[in-house]
């Protein structure tokens, strides 16, 4: 009560490492929402009591008024914590798109709740349509590379038959080395499926 559970929810967010998501705690979330309803009911009960005594609700400052005030402030505080929880998670999800690309890996998808997955998909679709209208790929590295091709070693089995941007198919078996265009390799490297070989 009185904002403690809501603060616990926010602390959970803070406890994860920077940029990492914790699993969506829907139990605690719903508990906080239930607390809000409870605060609201108690607030209404106190206001009703004041009205029954015939006092002017707007101006009287008696004990019930202060109790109602405390309930109201707790409600607003709960709202703030819930909003901050959802907002910060949404921001992290937005940045995910830029770091990892349009496909959500399994381990991250389990941490998101259903509306958040929808949010990611819609955001990614919006970005794709924007990029296709501009005919510009915004997700590549901002610094122009010295060499358009890089050497990579494949860390995980991606499979074969992957079509690259110059319409060739490549077979990405594990531990094989390839000489690829930078733009193709970047998305695999950021997902951890390949590594760059330097020197």
């Amino acid at each position: 009560m009185y904002g403690r559970k809501a603060c616990q929810l926010v602390k959970e967010l803070a406890s994860g490492e920077k940029g990492q998501l914790t699993p969506f705690n829907s139990d605690l979330f719903e508990q906080v929402v239930a607390e809000c309803t409870q605060h609201h009911l108690e607030l209404q009960a106190l206001i009703r009591k004041m009205q029954e005594e015939g006092l002017d609700v707007q101006t009287t400052r008696n004990a019930e008024h202060h109790g109602a005030l405390i309930h109201h402030l707790s409600l607003v505080r709960n709202k703030r914590c819930l909003m901050a929880y959802v907002y910060n998670r949404a921001e992290t999800i937005q940045s995910l798109l830029w770091k990892i690309g349009h496909v959500l890996p399994q381990e991250i998808e389990e941490k998101l709740c259903h509306p958040e997955v929808e949010y990611f998909k819609k955001h990614s679709a919006a970005l794709k349509s924007y990029m296709s209208k501009m005919q510009l790929d915004l997700t590549v590295d901002m610094v122009p590379p010295k060499d358009p091709y890089i050497q990579v070693r494949v860390l995980d089995d991606i499979g074969d038959g992957i079509v690259l941007s110059d319409d060739k198919t490549a077979n990405f078996a594990r531990h094989s080395m390839h000489f690829l265009k930078r733009t193709d390799a970047e998305q695999f490297i950021s997902r951890g499926l390949m590594e760059e070989l330097t020197g």
Partner: protein, 185 residues
């Protein structure tokens, strides 16, 4: 209001302060020591700062100085700032101090924060740039959150500088994916 969504701000405001109720309040079970839902005038209650602050604006309570700014801490800070364990007192020492100062009406808090920060900042920077890993963990436990942010910023700038000199790969696995595999180099 610009800090509405900031997590650190929310956690800072959750710090407990002890207040004295100037007026009575009924229908609230916030005081764990009283059996009824009624708070008497003059009773001393521990409230989170966000509640105490709002109630003080409406003159329902009066706030006492929290224990992390009391005389004992002040003497310790004057003696040797760099080794005072601020984290156990209050992990958001500076932010909390800034919020408390106008409310409690104590002018010396500002000077206290400033002098503590100045002296500790030097230590933070030197340790961030030079210390080996084993020494840092003990030092970390006495820093507040603000100081830790500075420390990490300094360390990451050192790491980027070294990387630029040696020339590592520009592209690495996105850090958000966790530690299942070590990132390249």
């Amino acid at each position: 209001m610009t800090k509405y969504y900031e997590i650190d701000d929310i956690i800072t405001e959750e710090e407990i302060v002890s207040v004295i109720f100037q007026k009575a309040a009924s229908g609230v079970g916030i005081d764990p020591s009283s059996e009824t839902n009624y708070i008497e005038t003059g009773s001393k209650v521990e409230l989170p700062f966000w509640l105490a602050h709002e109630l003080q604006l409406r003159q329902v309570v009066s706030i006492n100085i929290p224990p992390c700014f009391d005389q004992k801490t002040r003497l310790e800070i004057q003696a040797d700032c760099a080794s005072v364990d601020l984290r156990s007192r209050c992990p958001f020492f500076y932010e909390f101090g800034c919020k408390i100062a106008p409310v409690v009406g104590d002018r010396t808090i500002g000077f206290l924060l400033l002098s503590a920060f100045k002296n500790r900042y030097k230590e933070v920077l030197t340790k961030a740039h030079t210390a080996a890993f084993s020494a840092t963990t003990k030092f970390w436990s006495i820093l507040t959150n603000e100081e830790i942010n500075l420390y990490e910023a300094a360390q990451s700038s050192m790491a980027s500088f070294k990387k630029w000199r040696i020339g590592g790969p520009r592209f690495q696995k996105a850090p958000v994916l966790g530690r299942k595999r070590k990132s390249t180099q």
